[in-house]
Symmetry: C2
Subunit: 380 residues, 2 copies
């Protein structure tokens, strides 16, 4: 099978539009020249619209993890307490990063279950410099209550540091309205740019909290702020990825955020309808303040089936979906509806899932899933 | 002027070969799949040959500065002393990074002058966990004594952390023979890949020295080691830049390191011969253990001429050279011979420099520079 002819239906990296790929093959330019600065400013303007923020916004040459660390590494000193909300792998990552810089106050929920806001409030009431939460927990397909945690953070005077890696650009994220002090996104998810960049918005309050003796160096957000005033990055940027990012952001703007959010949410709804029709259960356990993710759907593997067999069955057909990570390996499978994924891509994915399930003797007949999905797409 | 038709003759980013640019426009792949791992291993094998090392070698999605910080951030704790050798901007950067993690013992030489090894030995004799040096000080066009510092580090039991950002892949760098515990290179310099990646080799001794309580997270070299055992990166890699890196490394292998080193050194020698012929002085002040850089040449601006006028004059002709950085701004200008730069590119650069100098009334007649350079190239 030709690798370049497979369909990436994972929760990132997502397929990148041909015009974005072409943009990356432009000859190099001097990153200290006017042309780079113009591109830098153009990207920042578009990103602020997507983040719905007027805060400072920076692009780091590094993955989403780099920006997660920048957020904590610049604000948290060794005696500072950080409430880390965890209900999946990326919540756990925030906890692990926080542990390198300060004192972790963990709020650990079973992966895939909903966040207990009473416990979060209880911990914040004891005093903390920051609270971290993953808005869209990619590993579990669940959307966590950002508005509510933002309100609690404000009430108790803590910084709200939010991983929006797989929500910003795909879901409705209101950074300023929700009071998110630092919000992080990855390039290779809902924005559908190539992997390798991450972007983060930083509030005035967050900058004021950067009062520790030594900030990290490569991830020094004050250095990013200083350079951004000259429309530059403090260190050599990954120029081709900026070319790609700019083109990907233009596609986002052309579609418009409202349409983009609706399309991605409809994709996830179509997947859920299809799963329901063929008797597959969703993985997340929702409550009043959580929701199924609208950019990645996580499903339980049917009784007696290792989810890696589903993933591998799909791979044989040329469609790349995701299994479970770490403790969820073998137990769940995940399908992305993020980025520029079109209804036809999801229809093909569901069609082949039915085929794989029939081969695994999970279902006898194909068709119910695609029919249910098609009905959802009719609402688009 | 069309930006894509300019010639980059700076000390990085350097022009990237069309086949490297094309490689970056390949569709995305899953970075947890077999194809990425095969590419990862292929790059690592080629890089070890270029570094002349059998140490572990990692590729970080981030600039050379990220790898410089990884080296210090993983090994230096707050009470550890680091001897930082400085005779240019990047030596200063090592000092600045070291100050965020430990106790700096600075060996500060005037930028562009040669390193005083007696002072280095004196400081090392007082006890230090590490010594940092930039092998090829890009900001000053001088090559520093790596073999000698490696011997001193060994004698006094310090780690030798070397910035080879603009020497590895262009100059003869013997990481193992010289006893370099951590050696760093940037993708966009002598290797002629796009900017955005940096690579570093790490000795067993360096790993043993990583005994502090909390390593950085994104730049945690133990995490890189653990993932490399599975031919992966710990966090999402910048996939298109890996596509580009692999293709750029293939070009390096096709040329062969011996030929590559000779070509780049000859390029620098041709620049020096041309400058001598037209009466321009080199910036570095050499001694018995230093040398002119063979990948970037730094020249003093003629009496009464702001070097930015030279740079801007060249830019008007479509040729991008570099001025001086920070305290050297206006005082020096720099021309790269690194990467895949061919004699014809340097001949054109020298020809236009003569034109600019004539326009600035520095010289009356053109031709002496190109003639002198041509003679040097005849030896290739």
């Amino acid at each position: 099978m030709d690798l370049e002819d497979t369909l990436l239906m994972m929760p990132g990296p997502v397929p990148v539009a041909p015009r974005v790929l072409r943009a990356m093959s432009r000859p190099m330019i001097n990153h200290r020249g006017k042309e780079f600065s113009a591109m830098f400013d153009d990207c920042t303007t578009m990103l602020k619209e997507i983040f719905q923020t007027e805060n400072d916004l920076f692009t780091i040459s590094g993955s989403g993890t780099a920006s997660m660390e920048a957020a904590l590494g610049c604000t948290i000193d060794k005696d500072d307490k950080v409430v880390t909300i965890e209900n999946g792998k990326f919540g756990e990552r925030f906890k692990d990063i926080a542990a390198r810089y300060g004192q972790v106050v963990p709020v650990e929920c079973e992966w895939g279950t909903s966040v207990d806001l009473d416990v979060v409030e209880e911990k914040l009431a004891e005093g903390a410099k920051a609270v971290t939460m993953v808005h869209n927990e990619t590993s579990a397909g669940i959307r966590n209550p950002a508005l509510e945690v933002g309100m609690l953070a404000k009430k108790y005077g803590a910084l709200f540091i939010m991983d929006g890696v797989t929500s910003i650009g795909g879901d409705d994220v209101k950074v300023d309205e929700w009071g998110v002090d630092i919000a992080v996104v990855g390039s290779q998810k809902c924005i559908a740019a190539p992997p390798g960049l991450s972007m983060l918005s930083v509030s005035e309050r967050a900058f004021e909290a950067m009062n520790k003796e030594n900030l990290p160096y490569y991830l020094d957000l004050k250095a990013y702020q200083k350079s951004a005033a000259k429309s530059q990055t403090p260190y050599t940027p990954a120029v081709p990825l900026f070319f790609g990012l700019q083109e990907a952001l233009k596609i986002v703007m052309e579609e418009g955020m409202d349409a983009r959010i609706k399309r991605q949410a409809t994709g996830a709804a179509a997947v859920r309808a299809a799963m329901d029709a063929i008797g597959i259960e969703m993985f997340p356990q929702l409550n009043a303040t959580s929701a199924y993710s609208s950019t990645v759907s996580a499903m339980k593997s049917p009784e007696g089936v290792d989810s890696n067999d589903i993933k591998n069955g799909m791979m044989d057909k040329g469609i790349i979906i995701a299994g479970g990570q770490n403790r969820l390996s073998g137990k769940i499978f995940r399908i992305g509806s993020m980025g520029n994924v079109a209804p036809k891509d999801l229809m093909m994915t569901i069609q082949h899932l039915e085929l794989v399930f029939r081969n695994l003797n999970v279902i006898n007949e194909m068709g119910a899933g695609t029919e249910a999905a098609a009905k959802v797409f009719d609402t688009l």
